[in-house]
Amino acid sequence: MNTKLYKIGWRLLQAVPSILGVIIISFVLTRALPGDPAVYFAGAMADKESIEQVRQALGLDRSWIEQFFIYVGNLVQGDWGQSLKTGQPVTEELLKRLPASLELTIIGLGLAVLAAVPLGILAATNPGSWVDHICRLLVTAGVSLPTFFTGLFLIYIFYYLLGWSPSPLGRLDIFYLSPSHVTGFYIIDSVIAGDLEIFLGVLAQLVLPTITLGLFALAPIARMTRGAMLGALSSDYVRTARASGLSKSMVLLTYAFRNASLPVLTTLGMVFSFLLGANVLVEKVFSWPGIGSFAIEALIASDYAAVQGFVLSMALLFVTVNLTIDVILAITDPRVGLEE
């Protein structure tokens, strides 16, 4: 176990140069983009004088190198800067917004996996049949329809026409108080608080947006499962298992699927990171106070600290997620070690 921990630590260290590169790139890019935060924040009627005042107050009149070292110095101390647009510290914003997006993405991904894996297995075991074609149809539709379209469409049917779904006003209906903050994940927090009403309210608000996200994530997972299963089912060890007279379910699940799950897990990691950033459209449609819309608004306002904070946190998350996937892979597959 000691060597495993050592290996994990070594992997983490290897991620540091990438993180540093991300910090530098995000710093340079935000400042190279057109759009002047001083003008934006000086407001409607500001003239040259007041714009200069705002620029000085924001510290933007100093040279880039100076600004960079100030930024990194603050970062090391845990100060990620102040979001100019919301007036809150960036860490506070991220800590509030990230759990909202994570909750949405994790559950959406979970739904996608629950639907996509059986679909993929069915399609693989009956290649060319109508099940295979249905799988292909569903998957193509899910990935080609833009998320905001699916989201609006679901709202139209289930909220506007049928009235089944609660109003798409965000994480919790207006008249409920959010559960006392422990993790920021409302599902967990409401269970910890022991409040059934709020728990159900949270779940109700989650239904439509997670289905929207899930439909989108369906495609790569189903395709991957199908492809991996096909590969596994035509392999030597499955032929041996069949020849040895093992039951169909044993062959399918214990042998074929376990081997096929490895590429699926890797895909999951990628899809998760991709979803986290791409769910901004879902957030906009469902008024979800997530990190995607936070980043977009910050970008529009040339809110440097917020954008850099977002990019950095995404990079950190990406590194963590992929490391976790690699660790799981290393545990489940004896062929895979943690060294390169």
Partner: protein, 542 residues
């Protein structure tokens, strides 16, 4: 598991710091009857208007939770909707006021019943501190105070506890209305000063999240990026008691979602509904949703031509373009009819000082071609039409229609889309756009005020680089002149006449600002600041 533990421990730390925020609303929330649910596109980013970087939607908060010396009255328009009345100034914190004979000193008597939320009376010292703050923090507040000739703390005097005085360098009709705009709000200086530090003498850090005022409503909850909640101040006596006890303003970024919410009844009021939706929504809901709107005072949607670029320095070219704009089509396609036409005037010389008023141009391609030929440009020319992507809702169809129409007289137009973040620098600060759409609206409802900002050389909204010595003199003379002055009417008519002839800015229409609300909601009025004043809103029994 590692990530979750990390989040958990950070969560506890942050949760403890967030606790002061979560003020509690009982779930029964006094029923829906006493509560107004408003949906808005953009969220607020501060509870303090004087703070640097406070965005426009945040002005709404200041309007409702802070008081000012005076306020504008409200009038009823022809179609029954309510709008503010720029000619009526009513008392708020000041119960009466007097102006010295030379017009340079304004003295206000403070209403003894005016009290802050903590029960302490509003004194002249509080007003002086708040006004000093408004002119000292810079940025937009200082610019707006300057419009009323208020620039230095020395001008504000607390004569005694109940008497406040403003000294002006010269008499100006703009000062009194400038006291009714959102900027000069009155802060509880005792509370604020107790939270000020040497580095932050104006308590900007504290007031950013913790207002200290006397207004009709208080903020009981603010979740940045999500919502904020007003609750009525039961001790407010400076006006009629507000009809609703609680107002929840929720940020909903998607226009389609906002519309679904108001149609289903989960929202009571939808501020600033796009013209297209406002036209459809009344008939679609069978009258369950009504729309109230008014033309935005002193505001015009114009096509501006930049005189620094040839051939726009030639007056005949500008006039030719004024005759080539497809006014009617634009009003239909971009404004969906929710705009007051500013074309088709009868005379080249204005007959009234009403502003805005229609300019004497209409779509007449023949006349446009003749004028172009007179300017020596019968072969036409090429140019770029820039517009603000942030305002694409009306600017994109307008730009496309203008491009199409100008093609017919030989002017080839390339469209240049500029993102909202870069627009102001390009159009207003650098003034580098040859032809562009513009939408300036002045808060103080006087034509000379509009001309001050949009026609004086070097001023912010004069994106046309228009320079006319006669206009300079006329504006300087008229800006602070009383409307009752004999010379006022003559000067304004002359100014408008020059604008008619020179057309560096070609007005197309005066835009409306519409809001949709459920039938039981009454008392909504349109304001110059284009924000929601909840103090007048009532909700009939649901």
């Amino acid at each position: 598991m590692k990530r979750r533990n990390f989040l958990k421990s950070m969560g506890v730390a942050t949760g403890a710091s967030l606790l002061p925020f979560l003020k509690y609303i009982p779930v029964e929330a006094a029923g829906r009857k006493d509560t107004l649910v408003v949906v808005a596109a953009n969220g607020i980013n501060s509870l303090d208007l004087h703070r640097k970087g406070t965005n426009r939607p945040s002005y709404q908060v200041t309007v409702n939770i802070y008081d000012r010396l005076v306020r504008f009255g409200v009038k009823k328009l022809e179609d029954g909707s309510l709008a503010y009345d720029s000619t009526k100034i009513e008392p708020e914190v000041a119960e009466s006021w007097s102006i010295s004979k030379d017009g340079k000193t304004l003295t206000f008597k403070i209403n003894p019943k005016a009290k802050f939320w903590d029960g302490t009376p509003v004194t002249a010292q509080d007003i002086k501190w708040s006004f000093d703050r408004a002119v000292s923090l810079g940025g937009f507040p200082a610019v707006q105070m300057k419009a009323g000739s208020m620039t230095k703390p020395e001008q504000f005097i607390a004569v005694d506890d109940k008497t406040f005085r403003i000294k002006l360098p010269k008499p100006s009709k703009l000062t009194l209305p400038d006291l009714a705009v959102p900027i000069p709000f009155i802060i509880n200086s005792t509370v604020a000063k107790s939270k000020a530090t040497a580095k932050d003498p104006w308590a900007t850090e504290y007031l950013h999240k913790n207002p200290a005022g006397s207004g009709a409503f208080k903020i009981v909850r603010w979740d940045p990026g999500q919502q904020f909640v007003y609750e009525r101040n039961e001790d407010w006596v400076l006006g009629p008691k507000p009809g609703v006890k609680r107002v929840i303003v929720r940020e909903v970024p998607s226009a389609s979602t906002r519309r679904a919410l108001i149609e289903r009844g989960d929202a009571d009021l939808y501020m600033d509904i796009p013209a297209k939706d406002s036209q459809e929504i009344v008939s679609k809901t069978g009258g369950k949703v009504k729309v109230s709107g008014a033309p935005i005072d002193n505001c015009l949607h114009v096509l501006a031509l930049n005189l620094k670029y040839k051939p726009f320095d030639n007056i005949k070219v500008r006039q030719a373009i004024a005759y080539a704009i497809p006014y009617g089509d634009i009003l239909k396609a971009a404004a969906y009819g929710r705009g007051k036409p500013m074309f088709g005037g009868k005379d080249m010389k204005p007959t009234s000082v009403e502003w805005p008023q229609p300019f004497p141009y209409d779509t007449n391609l023949e006349k446009a071609k003749v004028l172009l030929a007179e300017a020596g440009m019968s072969d036409g020319f090429e140019t770029t039409l820039s517009y603000n992507l942030g305002l694409a809702a009306w600017q994109e169809p307008t730009a496309l229609l203008i491009q199409e129409s100008l093609k017919k007289i030989g002017i080839k137009v390339k469209l240049d889309k500029i993102p909202g973040a870069s627009w102001r620098t390009a159009a207003l600060v650098k003034k580098r756009l040859p032809m562009h759409l513009e939408n300036f609206g002045g808060w103080l409802n006087y034509p000379d005020y509009y001309f001050f900002w949009a026609y004086k050389y070097g001023h912010l909204f004069n994106s046309s680089n228009y320079k006319n010595p006669e206009i300079e003199k006329l504006v300087n003379d008229t800006l602070h002149m009383e409307v009752t002055d004999k010379q006022y009417e003559e000067n304004v008519k002359r100014m408008i006449g020059i604008a008619f002839a020179d057309v560096p800015r070609i007005p197309i229409y005066q835009p409306y600002l519409d809001s949709a609300m459920r039938a039981p909601v009454n008392g909504y009025a349109s304001w110059f600041h284009r924000q929601l004043d909840v103090r007048s809103i009532t909700k009939a029994g649901v």
